[in-house]
């Protein structure tokens, strides 16, 4: 009897599980053996006995959770085939954030790819997405509606710089997720020739330092000192999304509230967050790239983990591709997850706490 995809990967309360290899992928609760796609907190949690991930992801986890984030860690080199139990696995770049990878699981010529979160657009801070042909492609659908087409990031960054030119007496406070988005925005600013210091909220410091250690050139990025906020007219300041509405941002000179996120494509979203300069910069695939990627993998079957599944599943149907939503819970709490209410990002007290400790 031929091997079925469900023999390679099934759904358990902790998330996706490979029974033939005895491991979970991005489990949402502590497990014996975890393979991690990338360092965002909803995918990479602390407390597993054994973790296999790219070296960058392991270092990100160590910065976030401390060196003892798991019992035993193992580095997965990109492209290298690793045998685990009765399956072989291979990590391939996902283009999402530094160290992000897709995980291909294979046995007897049947291949399932767990893509984690991914994007196809260029990103100076991480390796580009690699198409891995497969039988079953497991995809996210964070921006799984055809209204989501992310514009060229260069145009978005130029809009920010244009605003800085027009309002030199105001501080531009840019909300950006602390892992990935923030560093990408910095790198994009540098690409556009912005050579002044980029000021950082304390919560961004450690991960930014890590990116620099990994060889990403981000220029001068001083930490904002509380007493100096008043003097930062004309400055570009990066902070976690929660801080743009926080007490913290009030002390800057007449701040312009900016937010770098794929959600900014929808005006009501931007207005709801009180954003004055929305920057549509996303680390997730937009609709055309979700569709393109599914086609390019040649997969006959698609499982949709989280996000706007309905439209993507419908689209797969029109393409003659079998598709089903997995309704995975627990994903989308970090990075660019859809902000439910104010979610974990809107909690000022938590943000204030992280500001103190980070």
């Amino acid at each position: 009897m031929p091997l079925r995809a469900s023999d390679l990967l099934t759904l358990t309360p902790a998330g996706l599980y490979c029974p033939l290899g005895g491991f979970h992928v991005d489990p949402t609760r502590p497990v014996e053996r975890a393979l991690i796609t990338h360092g965002h907190a909803d995918h990479a949690r602390a407390g597993h006995a054994h973790v296999l991930a790219t070296p960058e992801t392991l270092r990100i986890m160590a910065v976030r959770y401390g060196e003892d984030f798991c019992g035993h860690r193992q580095e997965a080199a990109l492209g290298e085939t690793i045998r685990i139990g009765a399956v072989s696995v291979r990590f391939a770049p996902a283009g999402h954030v530094l160290g992000s990878a897709q995980i291909a699981i294979e046995r007897q010529g049947v291949r399932v790819v767990v893509s984690g979160d991914y994007k196809r657009a260029a990103d100076p801070t991480c390796l580009p997405f690699e198409v891995v042909p497969c039988d079953v492609f497991i995809t996210e659908a964070t921006f799984g509606l055809p209204v989501f087409r992310h514009p060229d990031t260069r145009g978005e960054v130029r809009r920010l710089l244009e605003s800085v030119r027009l309002f030199p007496e105001r501080a531009h406070i840019v909300g950006a997720y602390a892992l990935g988005k923030a560093q990408r925005v910095m790198a994009l600013l540098r690409e556009e020739g912005f050579d002044r210091p980029i000021h950082l909220h304390g919560a961004m410091e450690k991960l930014t330092a890590l990116y620099k250690r990994e060889g990403v050139d981000l220029g001068e990025t001083p930490r904002v000192v509380a007493e100096e906020r008043k003097t930062l007219a004309g400055a570009v300041v990066l902070c976690p999304p929660s801080a743009i509405q926080d007490l913290w941002s009030r002390k800057f000179p007449d701040p312009v509230t900016c937010f770098a996120s794929g959600w900014m494509r929808v005006r009501a979203r931007a207005r709801q967050k009180g954003v004055e300069l929305p920057l549509v910069i996303s680390d997730h695939a937009d609709w055309p790239d979700l569709c393109r990627t599914i086609r390019e993998t040649g997969a006959g079957e698609v499982w949709v983990t989280h996000g706007q599944e309905d439209a993507l599943v419908h689209w797969c149907g029109t393409e003659g591709i079998r598709a089903k939503p997995l309704h995975l819970l627990g994903y989308g709490d970090d990075g660019e997850a859809e902000p439910h209410g104010e979610g974990p990002h809107g909690d000022e007290t938590a943000a204030a706490r992280s500001e103190e400790t980070a």
Binding site: L145, V147, I244, E276, A311
Partner: protein
């Protein structure tokens, strides 16, 4: 078009007036004619062309996008124009991806011609209805997302961007150091794309000849008298007093154009031309001059409440029935110009004498003069303010908001100069309420919970309950706001996006004393009532919520205000 769209997009997100002004000035300075002129036309509502219906737009999209995907998207985004703009398969995919896609799924056509705003407006002005879908689709193909959004808002007649006509004119004037007033003076008779106007403000041409025969003149405003002690610094004999009517402040302006035809205009306080909504008033403008006054509804010579006036203001179509049931009237306060003479530089006492003679000469039933309130001392005036009916206001007393004090020697100065004019409002109504929800403010206040929804007690199915009766966002100092903000953050029970529900109940919660000017029936509020100009008058940190007021207080005020004269025949108007 994409540039104009980018401007609209920025304006839509920008809460600060000065920043809007900067964005506008920057745009006008760097955009050539006639593009910027049509932009000015769009923002001052001076363009006229064939509008597109939502059904047409939906049909265009569904010919290109799977209807299921479109429906899911529309449900998610909410707005038809925005959904269409976002979903339209246009030419604005990132260039890098276009190259990649060209290999993959064929996307390799030469970029279509991107229309300018001028081209769009000029085409819409001339094409036949059946050609509209074709042009619209072509433009949507060529524009980027923001461009498509602006185009769709423009062609569906929904271009609201938070910029008043006045602000746009201010920005144009500023290009050459002129104020909005100077632009206003030449505005009438100009039409899009306003090349002559731009040439003049930029010093490349003479001032446009077409002098506006009926220009708007920015009104003079007053400062409030907060308490009687404020009056002691003022000498009663230097002032004249009149009633402050509870209507809307307007200007009635008349004049003759170059052909000698009578031009009649009704302007709102902000300079919006509202002539079309008030043909009954425009008819009365048979004169050359400018009257500053209050627009009121009079039935059988009695001034009706603001509630009644609002029923006329809320109507879109001006029907004969509406005109008959809500007859508009102007009670004049001032005369700014008469027969070609600008009177704003003459003292109030002199203008007042001219006003009385001018209005007497008109002898028109729709225009009269707001009477002066005689007084010898501040005590006299306080008595009149407390009981206008006893000092000549008679049955109109309910439509009086307070008294105005005008220095007899005051010139008519635009804006709100401190000193010459004061308003002394009647004591507001006061009600003790309980804070129920708080929302983050805008602009400088975007990180503060500064907008509060408050409720009062009423009998519910399970005993007494709080029912929301209004929302307010001022009446407190910055220091008080900081305290309120902290209170909200520390007493949140639920969150809905930018809104937080706070603790409230008989023994927990915060009592806000709210001052307000009146109560109206409302179908939008659960309580059935809505307050006018509610603001926090005191924060009662000390008061137990159980002692807040009950809805009966508002019902009683409402009952008093509803003693109005029913409109003519039908009597079916009840808002």
């Amino acid at each position: 078009m994409n540039d104009f769209a980018e401007l609209l997009d920025r304006l839509a997100y920008e809460p600060r007036r000065n920043a809007k002004l900067r964005l506008l000035q920057d745009y006008f300075a760097r955009t050539p004619d006639p593009e910027r002129g049509y932009a000015l036309g769009a923002m001052t509502d001076s363009l006229s062309f064939r509008e597109a219906k939502p059904a047409l737009i939906r049909a265009l999209v569904e010919a290109r996008i799977d209807p299921v995907l479109f429906r899911l998207s529309h449900n998610y985004v909410g707005d038809l124009a925005e959904t269409t703009a976002l979903i339209w398969p246009g030419a604005d995919a990132p260039p890098a991806e276009v190259e990649e896609r060209a290999a993959g799924i064929g996307h390799n056509n030469p970029p279509p011609h991107v229309p300018s705003l001028a081209e769009v407006v000029e085409t819409l002005g001339t094409i036949a209805k059946r050609d509209l879908p074709h042009h619209l689709a072509r433009w949507l193909d060529a524009l980027d997302e923001t461009g498509r959004w602006a185009l769709l808002k423009l062609v569906t007649g929904n271009l609201r961007v938070g910029v008043s006509a006045r602000l746009a004119k201010t920005a144009v004037g500023a290009l050459g150091g002129h104020d909005a007033d100077a632009v206003e003076q030449v505005w009438h008779g100009l039409s899009p794309p306003f090349a002559g106007l731009f040439a003049w403000v930029e010093g490349r041409a003479e001032r446009p000849e077409t002098l506006n025969p009926a220009p708007f003149r920015p009104p003079m405003l007053s400062h409030p008298i907060e308490e009687e002690a404020d009056l002691e610094k003022l000498e009663p004999e230097a002032f004249s007093a009149e009633w402050k009517w509870d209507g809307i402040r307007v200007q009635l302006v008349g004049g003759r154009d170059r052909e000698g035809a009578q031009v009649a205009r009704v302007y709102s306080r902000t300079g919006e031309d509202i002539t079309a909504a008030f043909p009954d008033l425009a008819e009365a403008v048979t004169f050359a001059g400018s009257l500053d006054g209050e627009l009121l509804i009079l039935r059988e010579d009695r001034v009706q409440s603001f509630n009644v006036l609002q029923q006329r203001l809320n109507r879109k179509a001006v029907t004969p029935k509406l005109l008959a049931e809500f007859p508009a009237h102007v009670r004049a306060y001032d005369l700014l110009a008469a027969d070609g003479e600008d009177l704003r530089e003459t003292p109030f006492a002199e203008r007042r004498a001219r006003l009385e003679a001018f209005v007497a000469g008109l002898d028109h039933a729709r225009i009269d003069v707001s009477p002066l309130v005689p007084f010898a001392s501040w005590a006299d005036l306080a008595a009149a303010r407390a009981d206008p009916a006893a000092v000549g206001a008679g049955l109109d007393a309910d439509a009086i908001e307070g008294v105005m004090l005008k220095r007899c020697s005051s010139l008519y100065l635009p804006g709100r100069p401190k000193g010459p004019w004061w308003k002394w409002k009647r004591e507001p109504h006061i009600v003790d309420t309980v804070m129920m929800y708080a929302q983050r403010g805008h602009g400088k206040r975007s990180s503060f919970y500064s907008d509060y929804t408050f409720g009062v007690w009423r009998a519910g199915p399970e005993g007494d309950e709080l029912v929301p009766v209004g929302k307010c966002y001022h009446g407190f100092t910055d220091a008080e706001l900081a305290k309120l903000d902290r209170y909200v953050r520390n007493h949140t029970t639920k969150r809905f996006g930018p809104v937080r529900e706070v603790e409230y109940g008989p023994d927990k919660g915060l009592v806000l004393e709210i001052a307000f000017e009146g109560v109206q029936r409302s179908t939008r509020h659960k309580s059935g009532v809505a307050m006018r100009f509610p603001r926090v008058s005191r924060i009662r940190w000390d008061k137990p919520p159980l002692e807040a007021d009950r809805i009966d207080v508002l019902e009683r005020i409402l009952a008093r205000g509803e003693r109005e004269i029913a409109p003519g025949r039908t009597g079916e108007e009840n808002g």
